[in-house]
């Protein structure tokens, strides 16, 4: 019995040992998050393939790679990461591949003033930079140079598309600003369950309160809940927002508590923070996502 098992195992191992010649894809860029994928897609011409590891609705913190993803990583010649440790361990490993492959982080060109840090921890950078359109424009501008270096034969096309995209994002930014400015100053408070909107808040002059920090491991406590309830009632916050990838249990509890104390706060809708929305929704592109968020926020808060 034992011998049969052993034989089978050795045969299987032998098959694995056959030297597989990994193909390398020289005409494609591998990206990680769906948001990043969309951004890059808008920067490069059709001839360059953009492969995206995380599909829509995938939380980068919880992402688990599969064998085909590893094949993608192995085959890729050019990889773009979001940066600031968003992709966790995978980011570390991929950055280690810089050299045999070309790896770049979207956020690598950001200055220290642009990056939002968390108190006391030098390594603790907030990675949710894409919530600020201006920063994305900046990063796209800087990244364009790298992409041109990678694909010199497409220089013109990349330049054109990237510049066009930068203009488009500029228009998007103005549009979003005007939507968000419809909300009077005292109502500009976004309450969510998880801390992903710091860049947004800074860029568009909003205040953000959340129940939990960045980390998925950290937990909020009873005092945090009551403090948030007090805050909402104090400042008469009209609506609170759920995120598309986080459970709404906590927010519903906050809402119930507010209600019992006589204050009706609405569930203002779902915000897209760490990933794009589904294919059939408007939030399936980066622009769509930002716009959808702005509309959701504005609509809920201004009334």
């Amino acid at each position: 019995m034992k011998k049969i098992f052993l034989l089978l195992a050795l045969i299987a191992l032998f098959f694995g040992c056959k030297n597989e010649q990994a193909q390398t894809k020289s005409n494609s860029i591998l990206t990680t998050t769906s948001i990043l994928g969309d951004i890059i897609r808008n920067m490069v011409p059709e001839e360059i393939e953009v492969i995206n590891l995380m599909g829509p609705g995938t939380d980068p913190h919880l992402y688990k790679a599969s064998p085909s993803d590893y094949v993608h990583i192995r085959e890729a010649q050019f990889i773009v990461l979001s940066g600031l440790h968003l992709e966790g361990k995978m980011a570390e490993v991929i950055l280690g591949l810089d050299g045999e492959k070309k790896v770049k982080e979207l956020t690598s060109s950001m200055t220290t003033e642009q990056i939002i840090n968390s108190d006391g921890f030098a390594d603790g950078h907030d990675p949710h930079v894409w919530m600020d359109v201006e920063i994305v424009r900046w990063c796209v501008l800087k990244l364009k140079t790298d992409l041109i270096k990678w694909f010199p034969e497409h220089r013109k096309a990349i330049n054109e598309r990237s510049e066009a995209y930068i203009l488009k994002l500029g228009r998007l930014n103005r549009e979003v600003l005007s939507i968000l400015n419809e909300v009077p100053a005292e109502r500009r408070i976004i309450v969510t369950s998880h801390d992903a909107l710091n860049y947004f808040a800074r860029a568009y002059q909003y205040e953000v309160r959340s129940l939990q920090g960045f980390s998925t491991a950290a937990e909020f406590g009873l005092k945090d809940v009551t403090a948030l309830v007090d805050f909402i009632i104090d400042r008469k916050v009209p609506a609170i927002f759920v995120e598309n990838i986080v459970s709404d249990q906590a927010l519903k509890a906050v809402q119930a508590a507010c209600q019992e104390r006589g204050f009706e706060v609405a569930l203002g809708g779902s915000l897209f923070t760490d990933a794009l929305g589904n294919e059939n929704t408007k939030a399936n592109t980066y622009e769509g996502m930002i716009r959808a968020n702005a509309i959701t926020i504005s609509h809920a808060l201004k009334n």
């Binding site: 191992l13 490993v93 280690g96 006391g120 921890f121 603790g124 920090g213 960045f214 491991a217």
Partner: protein, 295 residues
């Protein structure tokens, strides 16, 4: 080549955890792997606070330390406080884990500590993370770490074989012989803690707990002696790793999870057909004994 490295790593983890798992299973501490995977959290957080760096080796040491600490607590509760072993395990790891969550929330609530980083290693990333010095590529880092760990643990176990053997099967007899039961126990527990923490980083907690328990369980059903059980565990670990990998590629699913599932399938088959305890065998036997057939 990537496939070979992944399979090799999986096999070595299976072997590393399996040889230790044999003793764990025999001592009725099968839930220890799961307990350790939860209990290391405070160690990681504290190490992170001290080092401030996500990829510091201090994190591993912190985890290992707390892995050993939880086994000490379990042993204390079980032996000194006379608490039944399942409750000892449950109380200890939930306590440690809760301490970890409090620490994360209090001190690192503004940081993506990503304790998952250390615990949920990804076996698929193994081929990409290599040791390269002076232009020479020595191969995947995790493979080396696990390989060395396996050799060290094997040497330790060979040296400790008699002691562990005695204290696993008949501790009263061992005690009457004057064998230091506690010593062997702590040696085993420390080895398990270190081996599991090392493996967590390479392949993730789920696969470690699986390899710690399932192949030894399958092997146990087939074997009559301890050395048979160990050899069978090694073989079954190898099969799980190889078949698990290819099945994962076929299904395009998590490699670690699939390896576990293959190990589980091996176990279920063993459970059904093995000659001594097999369910099917007894079912057929019972059918033969049914009153309608003359014996």
């Amino acid at each position: 080549m990537d496939a070979v490295f992944i399979i090799l790593t999986g096999t070595l983890v299976a072997w590393l955890c399996g040889i230790l798992g044999v003793f764990i299973v025999l001592r009725k501490l099968s839930m220890l792997g799961d307990a350790i995977s939860h209990a290391v959290l405070p160690g990681i957080v504290i190490a992170y606070l001290i080092s401030g760096d996500r990829s510091s080796p201090l994190l591993f040491m912190g985890a290992a330390l707390f892995g050993v600490a939880v086994t000490v607590l379990i042993e204390f509760l079980n032996k000194k406080a006379a608490m039944q072993s399942d409750a000892s395990v449950g109380t200890s790891f939930t306590l440690f884990f809760s301490i970890g969550i409090i620490l994360v929330s209090l001190l690192a609530s503004r940081v993506d500590i990503d304790a998952d980083c250390v615990l949920h290693g990804e076996i698929g990333l193994v081929p990409f993370d290599r040791i390269v010095t002076n232009g020479i590529d020595f191969g995947p880092r995790q493979l080396w770490i696990i390989g060395v760990s396996f050799i060290v643990v094997t040497i330790v176990l060979i040296w400790a074989y008699k002691g562990l053997y005695l204290t696993s099967f008949n501790s009263e007899f061992a005690a009457s012989l004057g064998v230091g039961i506690a010593g062997w126990h702590y040696l085993l527990m420390s080895s398990v803690s270190l081996a599991t923490v090392v493996s967590f980083e390479a392949v993730g907690a789920i696969l470690v707990v699986g390899f710690l328990v399932i192949p030894p369980a399958s092997a146990w059903l087939w074997s009559r002696r301890l050395n048979e059980m160990i050899v069978l565990t090694l073989i079954m670990g190898l099969v799980s790793s190889v078949c698990g990998y290819y099945l994962a590629v076929l299904l395009d699913s998590s490699i670690a999870a699939t390896m576990c599932v293959v190990a589980l399938i091996q176990f279920v088959i063993s459970f059904l057909i093995n000659p001594r305890h097999g369910v099917l065998k007894r079912w057929i036997y019972k059918a033969h004994l049914s009153p309608h057939k003359p014996i």
